[in-house]
Symmetry: C2
Subunit: 229 residues, 2 copies
DNA sequence: CGGTGGCTTTGACTCAGGTCAATCCATCGA
DNA sequence: TCGATGGATTGACCTGAGTCAAAGCCACCG
């Protein structure tokens, strides 16, 4: 949207954009807050999360570079957006962006498509949260990271692929609707079965893609809807 | 969209629309199917659901009259849409609808807004699926029905309100990521605590709204994002 | 180097919700 | 009136994941 927006008329957008960085753990948007800006991620990983009164927390979105944050037409966010890693964002002022939106059909179309993608991803995620076991959840999570990692190097998901894990165990737990301990146990479970190798806590190597994919409930490679928007 | 679409230019839409009814349990859209039509619900309740290989099933959307079904720009649905009650739909042919979409900015805007609403609802639901207990899940579900019931008679959610339950226990279980038995036990749990009264299996009366709302995690009445689009 | 604090892993135990198996109950057709 | 059928409820039991608590493992800092 920022870097690769439709050409031509979007020069106005170009002019009003600005950049901002966030440290891990820092809020980009807070729930209920009247957000004045919106934009897309240039670098880093951002989690969208909702929190219950007593502190129970659930991640409801995991965003990577090029993903869009913020809701046009909707001043108040129903969730927090938190930087998971150091994040660099390209931002616009809401009002200016909305003005542009009503003038530019392509932009609005693009936004609709992105929102539909996010909705599909959210629903895939609901299936995971409501019906998958802890092992299946973690396998699904690993497949997401693996697909992302392989895409970045124009490769396919295959044995030997090294997959960086940009989240702490706590963030993974909040993503999957589990506890830290269960996440940790499932990691060692997969390792002991020979499905993955763990190199430190922030990276793994796939040693049995078939097994992991099967656990994740993946049928055909192309049937995958990425859980992330 | 059908009944109350923006006036003026939408006469073309008027002309191409047609009606169809579905029996409970009947598929309106099947996962992976190349859907030729889309439209909105006139009457009845529709569930969107995803199914795992081994039959585990999760509802990912619950739609009521006036809600829209089908994804423009996207021929293949990533889920099933199933009639829960007898359903009457107002339908359009995809191609004609899309043609209209590109000509009519208001329609596209409306669609974007509806999609954003659905996304918010989906995320609220993810919080429920990932972090709420069985009792909290059922209380949340009851609040959704209660709000809907009260809205239909221009009233507020208050003690004594009679709330119809348009779903079987099985459908409720698939909605909440639980089993039938647990749903049933939670219903009797709420009844024994004096929070609700059960009149048959398809209707209940609220006797302690405060308690149910508290269980559901509702803070302020206006803070509610309806879980349904 | 040696401590210190933040993650992570592991173990022992608990418990919420699932599973399996009877009933129960309402509706409906004969 | 009487099965019969398809939910719904209830009970007994089990288990997957949570809880609580103790190490383990770095990385960073003095």
């Amino acid at each position: 949207m920022c870097s690769y927006s439709t050409p031509s008329e979007l020069e106005v957008l170009e002019k009003t954009k600005f950049y901002q960085t966030f440290d891990p753990g820092q809020d980009i948007v807070s729930e209920g807050e009247n957000t004045a800006t919106l934009g897309s991620i240039i670098d880093g990983v951002v989690a969208l999360q909702k929190t219950l009164e007593d502190g129970r927390r659930q991640m409801v979105g995991l965003l990577f570079p090029s993903d869009f944050i913020g809701r046009p037409l909707r001043p108040v966010a129903p969730y927090d957006a938190v930087a998971v890693t150091p994040v660099r964002m390209c931002l616009f002022h809401r009002t200016k962006f909305e003005a542009l939106l009503s003038q530019n059909v392509n932009l609005e179309r693009r936004l609709l498509e992105m929102t539909l993608n996010e909705l599909d991803a959210a629903r895939e995620w609901m299936l995971l949260l409501g019906r998958k076991t802890a092992a299946e959840k973690l396998a699904s999570f690993i497949m997401i990271l693996a697909r992302r990692a392989s895409a970045l190097q124009n490769a396919t998901v295959k044995n030997g692929l090294e997959v960086p894990i940009p989240l702490t165990r706590e963030a993974i737990a909040e993503f999957l609707g589990l506890t830290i301990e269960t996440v940790s146990r499932q990691f060692t479970g997969l390792r002991k079965q020979g499905f993955i190798e763990l190199s430190g806590t922030r990276s793994l190597v796939l040693t049995d893609v078939g097994a992991v994919a099967a656990l994740a409930g993946v049928v055909q490679e192309d049937a995958l809807t990425d859980l992330t928007a």
